[in-house]
Symmetry: C2
Subunit: 298 residues, 2 copies
């Protein structure tokens, strides 16, 4: 199970940390930006990949995993998606795990196609090919199990993983996710129960499933309850740093060994050069990542 590999790499590096490469041209120091023509998709996308490549080279020694937010690449059109693909390939070539943050979800036949694109295999005439080939992808649970099973099938067939949205980090996550159910509990708690149950199809040797959950680090109380109730579910925890969650908030969502989840930080790493008043964005990101690791391990 791929989740075992991720857990072991986190333990080796003592770093339950994921670097979110939500890269956009507004995040570049001037000295970097001036090397590119940022007035069109082609130059912008080339700069985004180069920024990512430098960050990956620097971060791969201390951070086990990247998360790559598909939206920030789609917005630069086809060149953006090429940079998305190249970033995935490059991070994997450096031994990092890659989470495709795509939040896909649809009826069964369409989910099967999305799964083929991101973690599976596309069947062609007398051949098959991989399109984007990440290790993990994020998925949306709104369609229920027949919209999710194609992803789970590929997790099993190709040793891949998914993280299903349970309780998201944004303020209005409450609007749907916190609705109280007649049967007791809230919508996200019911989703949590379902995800934990669906995940039983692929539990690894460390007791966690390759079917994980997205739980916003911005909701420490809810997260602590979920940690207790979802014994076999590994958490992807966004919201640390720029979105406001602290190491203290996150600790309650990990298990007794400080495992059971990986904490994502995007903007706080990408923009560390600003906070540290330097143009060396890679060195600044490494320093910020190390501070985050120390903070989480304290």
């Amino acid at each position: 199970m791929i989740i075992d590999g991720l857990i072991e790499k986190i333990a080796d590096m003592k770093a339950p940390v994921c670097a979110g490469l939500d890269t956009r041209i507004e995040y570049f120091p001037d000295s970097f930006a001036k090397e590119y023509d940022l007035s069109g998709f082609t130059g912008a996308a080339a700069a985004v990949f180069e920024f990512n490549r430098v960050l990956i080279d620097a971060l791969c020694r201390i951070v086990p995993c990247i998360k790559i937010q598909n939206a920030f690449y789609e917005m630069y059109g086809i060149p953006g998606i090429e940079s998305y693909q190249k970033t995935i390939e490059y991070a994997r070539s450096k031994g990092m795990f890659v989470i495709a943050d795509v939040k896909r979800g649809d009826i069964g036949s369409s989910s099967a196609a999305y799964s083929a694109a991101h973690i599976g295999l596309t069947v062609l005439r007398e051949n098959s090919e991989r399109a984007f080939d990440s290790d993990f992808m994020t998925v949306n649970p709104y369609f229920g199990i027949d919209g999710l099973q194609p992803f789970i099938d590929d997790c099993i067939a190709y040793q891949k993983g998914i993280f299903v949205l349970v309780k998201t980090s944004n303020p209005s996550s409450c609007q749907l996710q916190d609705l109280e159910l007649e049967s007791g509990g809230r919508v996200y708690e019911k989703v949590a129960e379902l995800v934990d149950q669906w995940g039983r199809q692929c539990i690894g040797r460390h007791g966690y499933s390759s079917v994980g959950a997205v739980v916003g680090a911005t909701h420490p109380q809810e997260g602590a309850v979920l940690r207790k109730n979802m014994k076999h579910t590994f958490f992807l925890l966004p919201g640390y740093g720029a979105q406001g969650a602290s190491a203290q908030d996150v600790r309650s969502m990990l298990d007794r060994d400080g495992m059971g989840g990986i904490v994502n930080s995007s903007r706080a790493l990408l923009l560390a050069w600003k906070a540290k008043n330097t143009a060396d964005f890679a060195a600044a990101a490494v320093e910020a990542a190390q501070e985050m690791i120390d903070d989480l391990n304290a």
Copy 2:
């Protein structure tokens, strides 16, 4: 408001019908397939676009709109996404409305990027560009309003539209969407209420909003109630044909004038050549579309 344009085109053509271009290489007649190398992404994607082009040329005279399922293009990698983009451009050049069936949804900053990609504008250095430029896109409501507002903002800024998932056509849609709430009603009914409320920001001259809803035609009873409760919400109705919904099922989800929604059919049109035992897939699709239009207008 773009919804006015769609409504008027539907009325002109007397065709509340959307052709779903969920094109995949398995759907090609042999005589078409043999012209392409379908063993790799490049040939497969080229064939998909050519199949779409011929269908669009044939269908644009009687059908006002296409829906293009992003998953079936992502699975053919970058070449697939190029065909996706070319299909959108080609259909719009033929005067058809285009619904990007991408079901995106994320926290606010990421939703803003998805919106820029599909219906908005991407800001670059001293310039801006459109990436995929559809008329409408489908979005997922799980994040609540701060995940949806960026899409609504672009609907207003650029005269575009969205369809928010309310009650999906697949069998396990019940698993989350039908959960009963303590306050009364079900999850999808609460989502329906929110969507109708959010849509008040962009109601056009025909009384419908450019913020529409996806309601599976496979749920006629639920759909009839939603039609009554969502007075300003235009429906995208998938599930007709291959997924099992009939014209009878659909009629209860339209208003008294037979308006208020557009019915999608994908596989029944794409594979009409098989049912009609011909290799002329375009003529077969036109015939099937005309039967569907007659059926809905009966």
